[in-house]
Symmetry: C2
Subunit: 366 residues, 2 copies
């Protein structure tokens, strides 16, 4: 993999990732104002969680017509975010970032009038990952070579963002489908670098500690061992397994685990990355063919925190996995998070995990 | 308030609440099959949370035409869920409940193949609360007398559900607006009785304990004291205050707190209930008039747990409040929970809390 770093007209970094050497010297000819990010983080004292406030994002690009896609390669007379006339995989800093390393650091120490609501600048990093320069493809039909290149890019970015002082968690993800609010249809994902541990990682690490104190066992190892040989496996190979979790909270939900305990994507061997691609393209094809139209989905990488944490075990306790889930519960029917889920955090699902596994196994993948 | 208890054709309880005595003896003439509930609760060992699986709900009523509304009063030849030809406030057990006291108790102790995924019957209670027999009204225009009757009904149901052996948390809420997945447009809310503490209540109680250990102070008291005199108050009276929380996570979010620390709705005096109605109708009117069309919203009562809990302080630590929030971030633009929120639990919002407070204060309420 060849990585070429360039700058966009407003100073943002753009990285071209190519399977073989290609000259990447096109210049961004646009007249762009500098990116000004005034995000804040505020501490919710009741829930004990940080919330990012990014009010400058209200004006971001929203479902542009296909011929104005900012993620297409540039053509004469129509410059986009990517100056080159073609590309394989490209990463660049989001023009409307929720979190940025160059954020305005001059913020008060607390929210106006409430000393319990600690305030920090919205430091972090938000990157866009374009999976292909072809506007009308989806990840499911990228093919194994390109998908493997994307995995290598995720690994590269996990290491690069984790090396930035102050970043605590690196999160590659893909939101797919207009039904879940995706504002650009070009096949792309995102990578967030947070300056704190998101709530899910915090809760899971607390569960792992409690499980070890109670049983002496390794929570992730015990879960993976049970699910690998259980009735909810959808597909598997030597290095990866994809199963519907026993207590799935989304209508269609799969967890993809490597069979070896590793903390994050960079720790995967080349063979394990290829094996992931094989399982992932398989399950994406099942998601695309379960109903007449491809399901919208969220693909969410659960990596170990960047640092070992206060007990020194956060990285050792973690087991890398990908959560792949759809809010579609039936054709044309979305699961909405309403009072029970969004209000008090009690998930209620309409689908039975064993049935979902059976349905996904039954999809014919050619 | 007069409460009349009757039974529907399938044995479910229906309760009429009237401000003055009215005969409520209409009989449900429908030929309904008995309600069979096979919900399960499964324990998510990674997150340490219970998830309810209610697969029988896939076939529930979905956006029926207005002339087939099951929450309208019955008319000759068109029997509905409410046998009477008119009503004030009515409560009945949901015909498609996620949780039920009569649930099938014969379930295995764990999910198939995973002993870490403890399994329990979906015991609990799901009630529907109809606020009026007029199909086309919304809560914002119920008027103070009817709204006060609803508050008294919430208090009645909180006590009644809390008295059921095994119920740990009572949650009255309203999902309002088709945009958030409401399947029946008739003005109604719901009340859930959970057999466990939902995640939000657990986290807040943990924060209250940690705050007391660290500062000796009362977390809720400190938050309310700061916000009551702060810049995010939208409206208030002697007994209630409505403010945008400092770390709001939804585009439009208000917290309504009584100025006296009480654990739950039954603990409110009559005067405090009237004062709540005054503030609540005021803020609902602001939500209805902020944009051209009324905003969809979720109104979510945060009550103390039914029982004092393992440290005996859960009820004393709590301060009743109502969370009122909308996912609309601008006309026609909904906030979607995507990778950051639904994946790793890191909320990012596009609206600034002080700006939202200013916008809501500026709405003219006649």
């Amino acid at each position: 993999m060849i990585r070429t770093s360039r700058r966009l007209a407003d100073g943002r970094e753009i990285l071209y990732f190519d399977a073989e050497p290609v000259a990447r010297d096109a210049v961004d000819t646009r007249d762009l104002p500098p990116v000004a990010t005034r995000s804040q983080l505020r501490f919710d004292a009741l829930l004990g969680e940080w919330v990012a406030i990014a009010s400058h994002r209200q004006t971001r690009t929203f479902l542009p017509p296909a011929d104005e896609c900012p993620l297409d390669p540039s053509r004469p007379g129509r410059p986009t975010e990517i100056p080159e006339s073609g590309y394989q995989v490209v990463v660049f800093e989001n023009r409307f970032p929720s979190l940025a390393t160059g954020v305005d650091r001059d913020v008060p120490a607390e929210a106006p009038g409430n000393s319990l609501a600690e305030l920090r600048p919205g430091f972090g990093r938000c990157e866009v990952v374009c999976f292909t320069d072809e506007h009308d493809r989806i990840f499911a039909d990228l093919g194994p070579d390109r998908a493997r290149l994307v995995v290598d890019v995720w690994a590269d970015r996990t290491e690069a963002l984790g090396a930035i002082e102050g970043i605590e968690y690196v999160f590659p993800f893909e939101n797919h489908g207009e039904e879940i609010g995706v504002t650009l249809s070009h096949p792309h994902g995102q990578i967030y670098g947070y300056p704190y541990l998101p709530a899910r990682a915090q809760k899971i690490l607390a569960s792992a500690r409690a499980h070890r104190a109670r049983t002496g066992g390794d929570l992730f190892a015990d879960v993976v061992a049970a699910e690998r040989s259980g009735p909810r496996v959808v597909t598997a190979n030597e290095h990866w397994v994809a199963f519907v979790p026993a207590a799935a909270r989304w209508p269609y939900e799969l967890h993809l685990f490597p069979t070896r305990k590793v903390p994050d994507i960079p720790a995967l061997t080349g063979e394990e990355r290829d094996a992931f691609v094989s399982v992932y393209l398989d399950v994406l094809a099942r998601f695309a063919r379960r109903f007449d139209a491809p399901m919208p989905y969220i693909a969410s990488w659960n990596q170990a925190p960047v640092h070992p944490g206060s007990d020194g075990r956060a990285r050792d306790d973690w087991w890398l996995h990908l959560q792949l889930f759809s809010l579609l519960r039936a054709p044309g029917k979305m699961k909405y998070l309403a009072g029970s889920e969004s209000g008090v955090g009690a998930f209620i699902t309409d689908t039975n995990p064993e049935d979902v596994a059976e349905q996904l196994r039954a999809v014919v993948v050619e």
